[in-house]
Structures are given as C-alpha cells and as structure tokens.
Symmetry: D2
Subunit: 358 residues, 4 copies
Amino acid sequence: MAGNSFGTLFRFTTWGESHGPAIGVVVDGCPSLLDLSEADIQPWLDKRRPGQSKYTTQRQEPDQVKILSGVFEGKTTGTPVSLMIENTDQRSKDYSEIAGKFRPGHADYTYWNKYGIRDYRGGGRSSARETACRVAAGAVARKVLGSGIQVRGALVQIGPHKVDRSRWDWAEVDNNPFFCPDAQAAAEWATYLDGIRKSGSSIGAVVEVVASGVPVGLGDPLYDKLDGDLARAMMTINAVKGVEIGNGFEAATLTGEQNADEMRAGPNGEPEFLSNQAGGILGGISTGQDVVVRFAVKPTSSILTPRHTVNLDGQDTDILTKGRHDPCVGIRAVPVGEAMMACVLADHLLRHRAYTRG
Amino acid sequence: MAGNSFGTLFRFTTWGESHGPAIGVVVDGCPSLLDLSEADIQPWLDKRRPGQSKYTTQRQEPDQVKILSGVFEGKTTGTPVSLMIENTDQRSKDYSEIAGKFRPGHADYTYWNKYGIRDYRGGGRSSARETACRVAAGAVARKVLGSGIQVRGALVQIGPHKVDRSRWDWAEVDNNPFFCPDAQAAAEWATYLDGIRKSGSSIGAVVEVVASGVPVGLGDPLYDKLDGDLARAMMTINAVKGVEIGNGFEAATLTGEQNADEMRAGPNGEPEFLSNQAGGILGGISTGQDVVVRFAVKPTSSILTPRHTVNLDGQDTDILTKGRHDPCVGIRAVPVGEAMMACVLADHLLRHRAYTRG
Amino acid sequence: MAGNSFGTLFRFTTWGESHGPAIGVVVDGCPSLLDLSEADIQPWLDKRRPGQSKYTTQRQEPDQVKILSGVFEGKTTGTPVSLMIENTDQRSKDYSEIAGKFRPGHADYTYWNKYGIRDYRGGGRSSARETACRVAAGAVARKVLGSGIQVRGALVQIGPHKVDRSRWDWAEVDNNPFFCPDAQAAAEWATYLDGIRKSGSSIGAVVEVVASGVPVGLGDPLYDKLDGDLARAMMTINAVKGVEIGNGFEAATLTGEQNADEMRAGPNGEPEFLSNQAGGILGGISTGQDVVVRFAVKPTSSILTPRHTVNLDGQDTDILTKGRHDPCVGIRAVPVGEAMMACVLADHLLRHRAYTRG
Amino acid sequence: MAGNSFGTLFRFTTWGESHGPAIGVVVDGCPSLLDLSEADIQPWLDKRRPGQSKYTTQRQEPDQVKILSGVFEGKTTGTPVSLMIENTDQRSKDYSEIAGKFRPGHADYTYWNKYGIRDYRGGGRSSARETACRVAAGAVARKVLGSGIQVRGALVQIGPHKVDRSRWDWAEVDNNPFFCPDAQAAAEWATYLDGIRKSGSSIGAVVEVVASGVPVGLGDPLYDKLDGDLARAMMTINAVKGVEIGNGFEAATLTGEQNADEMRAGPNGEPEFLSNQAGGILGGISTGQDVVVRFAVKPTSSILTPRHTVNLDGQDTDILTKGRHDPCVGIRAVPVGEAMMACVLADHLLRHRAYTRG
C-alpha cells in the first residue's frame, strides 16, 4: 500500500473509486508562477472522456475538473495543486450482479485476496476511471514542460491491424474516434471494431506516445533511468501488458550494425544522430531526439460472452458482464499514455535542473 | 541523480565503475536472522561471470564477493549488508582509443552531455559490469523469499531464432552456454552465434524470467503495481528495450474471449485459474500463478565494423570498437533478470507483510 | 517542493490554503478492514477547532470532515482515504491590509522569496489552518494503532509558568481550555492569559505528548529512528522551535549515573526499566515504556503592537496585525502534536510488521 | 529497516559495524565536476577522530578514508561516491564481558528485541563509530555548498557550565580539546572534565551549529521544512535527546513583542532583519540569516560505576562498563553536527535549484 503516488520532484497522488462521490489528484512539486486554470486541464479530460463515440463506453461523465488549491490569481503558488472530479453517472445497480463473482481478467480476485474487502461497484479503485486523474496531472505537467516540449500519442494497432507508417499524419489523429494517424486505417478500423462491438466482444491495441523537443540529459542512471520510469509509468495504466522504447522487441532480431544509431556533425558541429532506433534514450538518458514509447493494451475483460469463474463461496459459476464498456480500451489509453509521458518528463526536467544550476 | 537505489523496504544501492578499484552494493532492509555467507552469493555471480565461454566477453574477472557488514556469526543482523567486488582485470589501455569519440549505441554521448565529464574506461558507470551488483543483491533477495519461491530465467530468443516451447526443459538451461531451455535450439544457436562472433558482429535476444510459488497479494496499486515495478526493474538493465508481462504484446491481437483467464473451483473450493495469459498479475497484484516477465535485449553496440560518429571536437570520424565484448549481451542478462525479479518480489513480500500482520 | 507528504507506509499528503474553498488530506497506506466513519474523525477536529474559548482565535469554522474515498460500507478498503474540510468563514477582507507587507515572525517574506508569489489571505498555505488536516490524518492513525496504544497530549508550560507534575491528572486535561493536566495551574493560567490577550500580546508555550502501550521495537536505525521521525514531525508544526525526547535538554546537565535507566527482571523475568529518562526510546527504537515528546511553541506572531517591517517595494513601514488570532497558539498545538505522534507510530508499527519473522 | 539513508537529491547511505572489517558511506546525488580527493575529506575525519586528547576515548583509529568510486581524474562524475574507512583497532575482547547483559542507556535491549540478534562488539551498528561516515558525507556536502556557505560548530555547554557568549570567538574553537568558542570556559571545563573522567563518570553537553551565507529559500514546506529536516538530522546522532532552532525552548517564555524579528530596508532597499530569534528559518524556509541549531547530548552511558541491569536469561545482575569511552560524547558530536547541517543544506540547495525559474 501507500502506492498511490508517482514521481519525485513533480509528484502526484491520486485517490477515489469508480462509484464514490468523487475522484481526485494532488499534484505536489509544481513550480510557482505558471498560468493555470481549469481551462488548461479540461480539454485533456474531454479527450479521454467516455461516451463520445460508439466505440467507447456509453457512461456519461462530464468530468468537470475543479482546482481546490495551489493556484492564486491565475498562477501556481508552488503549493500542492488539488484537483477534484465529481462522479455523476454512477448507476451502481449495473454492477450489483457481479458483487459475488470474480470477473476473469479483472482485479476482483486479487483485491479481494489482498485487502479482504473490495468495492465491487465498477471495479472501485481498480477501475480505469482513475486514469482521469492521471490526465489531469498530465495537463499540469505540460505546463511545466512548456511549449518547447510536445507530447503526442496515437493508436498504432488494433487487434492484428497496424497503421501504415508511410501514411502517418499527426493531423489525422483528431479526425477519427481512434486517435489513428492513418486515415485509411481509421476507416478500416471503424468497420472492424463495429463487428467486435456488435458481437459483444473486445479487442486489444497498441498505443504509441512520442515526445519532441526533449532536451539532452533527462534521466538519472542507474535505477531512475528515463526509460525505466517510462516503463513503470505505462505499465501501471490499466490493462497494459507490455512496454517498449524505440524499436523495442524488434531490437532482439537485429545485428549491431543494423541497430547502431550512427552520428555525424551537424551544421554547427553539434552531434546529430542519423537514425533513432534507440527511441531517444541512451544509457537511461535522453539524447535530444524524439522519445518514443509504445505499449500494448489487452482487450477489455468485460464481454457479453459468458466465461467460467467462481463465486466468493468457492463455487463454480459463469459470468457475463453487462453494463457499459469499451470494446477497445486501448483507444482511451492514448491520452492517458500522453499524460504519463508528460509527468515523467516534468519530473526529470526538474531533477535535471537541480544539478545543472551550479 | 540520486538514482542509484532500488526498492522501498528491501532496498539496495549500487556504486562503482567498470575500471575503478571495486564495485559494490549496500542492501538495506534485509530482515535479521537469515543465514548468509559469501557462499550463498558467489554461485549467482559465477553464473553471470564473463569469460566462461567463447560466446561472452573474454574479460577475466573472478568476481569474488566480500561481505563487509550486516552479518554476525553467519546470520543477518537487520543492518545494512555491504557487498564489495574488486575489479582485477581492468586493461584500461584497451579503451584509450575511444576516449575522444562517442560510440554509437553506448551512453558516451548522453553521459558526456549530462555530467560534462565521463569515465571513458569501459563505459565507467554505464558498463554492464554494474549488473554484478544486482546479481549480488538478488542472491540476498532469494534468502528473503525463502525456498518456497523459485525464480528462474532462460534465453528464449536470439536474433530471429526462438525456442520451441514444446521442448522447454528447465534442466537444460544449465547444460548450454546460452541458458537455453531447448536443447535442440541451443545447438542451432551455437552455430548461428559462432558466425556472428567471427564476423565481429553482435545480435539481440529475448530473456524470460519466471517466478513460481509467489503468494497472492504482492503489489501495491496503483503506482507500485507489481508489474509496474518489474517493468522498471528490467528496463533499467543495460541494453533492454522492451518488457512484457504474460502474453504481453500478443494481447493486443486477442479478443476478450481469447485473453480471459477463466476460473474454476479447486479441490478445496479455492479458486483456480485455467490459464495464465496475464502472467500471474491482475490489477497490479500477484494472482498466485507463475509471474512471467520477458524482456528484449538489443545487440551489443561494440562491434568490429566501423560506424560513423563524431569526436568531442564535433568532427566527423568513424569508430571500430576492439576490446573484449559479448556477441550477445542477452545471454549474461539472464541471471541479471532473475536477480531483479527476486529483488522486486522480496520488496513486495515485505511490504505485503506490513499490512497483513494485524 | 513536493514536500507535502509525511510517512512511508502510513503516508499522508495534505493540500489547501487558509482561504481557498477547502483543505484536505489523502491518507495512503491505511490497512483495510478498519471501521472508519466521519464520526471517528470529527471529535479530534472539534478538539482543535478554533473559536471554542476566548483564548483561541474567534474564527468560526465548523471543520466538518467528509470522507471522499477509501471506505466502503463502513470499512477501509486499503485504498487512499481522501478527507476534505471546506473553508466557510474566510473573511478575506481582514487580510487585505497586509498584502503588501511582510509580517515579522510569519512566513510572508520567505514564501514571497522562494515562490515569487504568495497567497496573502491569512497566510495561505503557511497558515496553521493546515494543521486540521494533520489532526484528521491522526484520527485515522489512531485506528491503525488500535485501542492498545494511547496517545495523549497536554500543555505543560505557558510563558514562564509550568505545571506542577505532582498534581498531574490526565482527567483534568479536558476540564480547562488549555489542555492543562494541573487544575491549579490552569486557574492561574486563565488569569495570566487574560492579561496577555487584553494587551493584544501573545505568549509561547510547551506541549508534551505521551504514547502508552507502544510495543518494543518501533523505529528504523540509523536515519529513520523513532526519535528522529518524531523530531521532524513536531518541528514541522507551525511555530515550533524546539523538540525533546524524555529528559531532553536536561540530559546535558546530568552525569552517566544520574541519566542511566537501570533495569531489573520483572515478575516473569522480562526486563523492566526502573526509570524513563530516555523517554521510551533507546538507539532510535522504542523500549516499550511511554514515549515522551515535548516541543516548544513560539508566541503568536500576529499581535496588536506595531512592529517594524518593510513592504514589497522595499520601503520601511510598521505593521499591526488585526484580525482573529490565538494569544497562545500552543494551546491548539496539543491535538496537533497528538496527531503527529499517532501518525509516526502508525507508520513505524506497519514498518515493524514488515520485518517481523512470519 | 531500510532506514540507513538520509536526504533526497543529495542522499547518503551508511553501512558498517563498530567491529566489522570496515565502515562506509555511499553518497548518491553529488553533482559532477566538483574537485574531490581524499585530502578534502580526511581533515574532517581527523577532527572527529578519537584518541586525540584525554577527554575522548583512547581507541586508536587512523580513520583513513578511501574513495572507491564517483571520482575520475580528480573530479566528481555525478555517479555514486563510495567512501570506505577500515576498522583497525577493534579489540573485541574488551567487549566480551557485556555480550550477555543489557547496558543501561545503550541500544542493547532494543536491538536485541527488534532484530532477535545483536553484534555485541562495541555496540555494532549502534556504535558512535558510524558517525565517521556522516562526517565523510558532510565533507562531500561542503563541496556542494561551495565556499560561500560556511558551516561551523561549537560546544556551548558541558554539564551545567555554559559558555559566555560575550566572549564567543570562533578562532578559539580549534585551540582547545572541547571545540569551545570561549577560552576562559575551556580552561574551566578542562578542570571540571578531569574530575568527571577520573571518577569514571560522564557528563552531558550542548552543541551549537551555525551556517552562514545560506541563501533565502531553502526548505520545502510543509513536511520537508528546513527546520524539520535539521531536527531529524540532529536527533538521529547518537545520544542526542533534544534539538532547537534559534532561541528554541526560550521562545516558550517570550511574548510576541519580544520574539518578533523586525525588519528594515537595507542600503539597497532589500529587507534586513534586526534580530535572529528565529534562527534563520521562517515557515520552514531559510531567511538568508545564519541558520542556528542546538542539540543536547546525553552523558556517555558507559561508566565505571556499576548499574543494575538484567542478562539475556532475564536474571538480575549489575554491569560496569570498562573499555575505552568518552567522558563527554558531546565533544566529538561537534563535527558530526556540522556534517549533518552541511548534508541537509546541500540537499535543499539542490532541491531549490530544481524549482528556480530558468
């Protein structure tokens, strides 16, 4: 326990359950004198918000964020920024049926075992609803990063269908309900996902997050390496089963010649990399290139096909999860991945400053 | 900086450079009354030790560990366990040629940028030599875990060549220089890696680490999840570019039906899982099944083929790394991955006790 | 920054300013299955609440606590317990006059310097109002400690007037507005403090907090010693300038013979101490005796006598602080000191369990 | 456990027992490019070293420090600085007699209880010998602080005898074996302490540590306040029972008028304080004035007068501690207090830089 905080100098702590009165996050270590208002945070929450297309859960949540502390006359004061989001559309009744059973793929069994009690209403603390707090913290982190560092995410694979990188266009990401950078793939995915949705099934996906404008030097070897922190950050997102940096698992199949990012002197003699297999990180420290992270999201565990399970009395039973769910939780994981990337970078940016102001 | 510690209750801090007088690790938070002597640690160091086959660097290091504190009359006292390993075979001259150039794929450029200085002798702090300290800490962690929890690792892929899981035999792991659980694959790898080695090239690999006998309940949601900590632990190992839990990236291609680990009541009514796609972790908490982690290791960056780079004066040049290197660093990453798994589990085992001794 | 959390396993994070919409605390690491409701927390807040006698500030705050998360059907779930207290009686106008001046003894100057901005309404984050959050966290900590461990505080000195320890009676503490364990002293203090109050002045005080029923073994040498953590805990309370354990500064005047806590075998052969000069802590670990901590609280800095100061333009001026203030902030520091003691003990109780041999 | 580290960005971890082969400290988070060699550390160790006068233990320890990592060609590299000091004069036989008894005032009983085992040779981990590691870390911290920040300590009271502050002369501190800033007091103390020593008794003392040149803004409210961290730092030093900042406990006896540090505009309009009752800290943040800390050290527990105690079998017995001890451990606590002050300031200096607007 005591595991609900993330970061060292830029540190946030989240709280709240899916069906309690509210959820929230306390961002501690935010520098002072940054312009900050709800208007800076709300757009990112809206991007993650459910019920915006038929491809995400129909739960209706306005997700209105309130700043409760840390801001005075429109500027951060250097004190904790407390953000709260009220839960409005709770419909606990939807979940009453599953109170006594362990849903396969969900955290029901492990929470029940670890804590001896679980809030069975929509997963309680283990619900993806908590990711709204991460997104809110990420919006504050973006303020710390400033306009020079850009963090963008996209869905690059859904089930077996990958985007065609030759067609990659960041502008397309906001033109489809999948945050897909490839318009043609997005059209194909729509048909594919309709089938998944109508059959009451679900499907996995892969998210890619890219940070541009990252200065050289972020990351603290050997155990607070930038890639180590990013791996932890992404793996703690609900349903994530794998994380890779740069070429990731493909690196296992390459030779040293193929994998080497060679260098040449740039116009002003500064070193320039000729490729970015490493994903912008060498020895756990940013190289100044784009930082590239990908993570795999498993299919939504709540499906309409009955699955074998047991109940709290240890008896065999089956379960079929009604209620409102995302056929592909990977879609809404895009803004969450962006937020975690922003938070990790903000933390390391502050850490880096500590040692470079001699 | 201040990033050289790992863990919370079972916490280790490593120090030392590749070519300094010694390297070492301080293990803080080791419970008292555990039997511990150098003989408990040395075998694991020997397993990682270089120069044992033609497939690993020929650097000769006895890697003799010395216990400097924390043990009295053969038992741990609950005070810090300080372990030291002297560097004997340093051959700094081997590295003098590269002092002024940035080796592609190495941390030379980022360390030089971040710190304004680097110990160019064999990579200094960024050398894989530091992993000996992780292995030593892991040996202490195994004592904390006790005999009921078994942590084993294997090399499951080298370049494009994967093991055949139908031939998996843990006993084979110690019968070949690759820690390969598939005797037939090991024979094929020998030929393949000979070619790589003779051509002065290198190749990537994938390591799998499995922990058996792990109790239900380890892991502290939402940010100290067991899988989050494992991802960070593995990603901080030199040359690792990707980490996955259970079916990992494959989960992205599966439907909810395919990915669900269904349950049935066991002989005594206790829940039993019918599969382990999740890799023994649900909601960031161990399920009691095998905890399964895989990570990708990039090919050794030091190769005999010249690569483009720049020197400290910002001029174009090429570099060819002589010296003694592993054609596949993935091999020696196996005991390191085991050690990190053991340390993460030991930390969470102690954390779990804190809340279950009411 | 990022300095708004306290504790490791039992860890709380506070947020909020004196005149924002609310203040709050997130308690992370609270074990599950503890009975917890607002009714368990409110009495402690009421004890600290202002406006209850003419000896404390007349600010009227109901300090109604709301549990926003971490409790399900009356029991803690092991997830973060988020507690919120709304600010009702803010009267910002009272403070407008001081916006441009640095109040001597207050944090105005240092906050303005450190953050480049300050919420001048009643001290903002530096206001003692935040201590309500500590008291709320302390109420949760008492649940973790259980009924076997009792934490009690008292005011033992006000200005030059100390209690007579021969008349010490814990029952008296709730019979007077000073939390004074000596009825006769309380009567004398009433007259004395009336004079202070009417003259618009203020006075310092000393608080003593005692924990009974503490098991042997709490505290983690060498830097997380129980006394070290208690010293930090108390010194972070507003206006505290000194902390001592057991006989404290008096120990400086004693010989080894006088200071020794001798031992004798108890009825069952278990060691018993014949005295408690050490205040229940040896080598940073609890001895099983009462843990005794005292701390000095400086006089309220806000007084009606004009003091020299400067304004934000760097010009000389004088300041006279009107508004509603405590003539002796030491009084209301008693429940705060109790709360911090409870939190430190709860944290170390959980830490100790982690290492208790299973 | 896991309590052997101190600091966040400038963090050190100590290890080692009084009678093991060596003791040491790993300083993590030391910025790069600082000139550092053994010659920078040794003088501070020599200042603390025993056996230098008849007023301190006659144990002979050269306390030669060795730098094992973190320094390359005379400069810090930003990687962990590992420092080791070998134990040479161990004489375990001196301690064999006390193996089965609990020495009053020592940590014997609590360690035995907490860990179920103790290294009885000279206190093992609980021995003041560990403070040599703090002094070594402090020497590195001074490098981080640079020449602009000066940290000095003095003994201001021994038993009932205080220095006369009107005679305070820092230059005198190195002219007597007591680190006493008052030459006349030093002469009187010599006679007094001779009596204590010859009678086989011991006496307590008070140490004062002053830091000059500290910039405004160090300290992270509300729980990482500068005074809170200093209180913890000093309280963790062996035998310390009380800590105060500025006027400390005297503040309890003062009125608001007496305690106020008034301000006036300085020559360039910058605010200047007219007094320093606060000890250079307001609201947990440094004011730019001298930071003043005092701590009380109890008398050495090892005395030649027999004391009542019990043995491990729970039987009554008496104990008389022979061996080599300091009649007043407060003397050697002076350089230790300086070191802890330097480490706390170095940590907060780095933390402050992280948030200084670039």
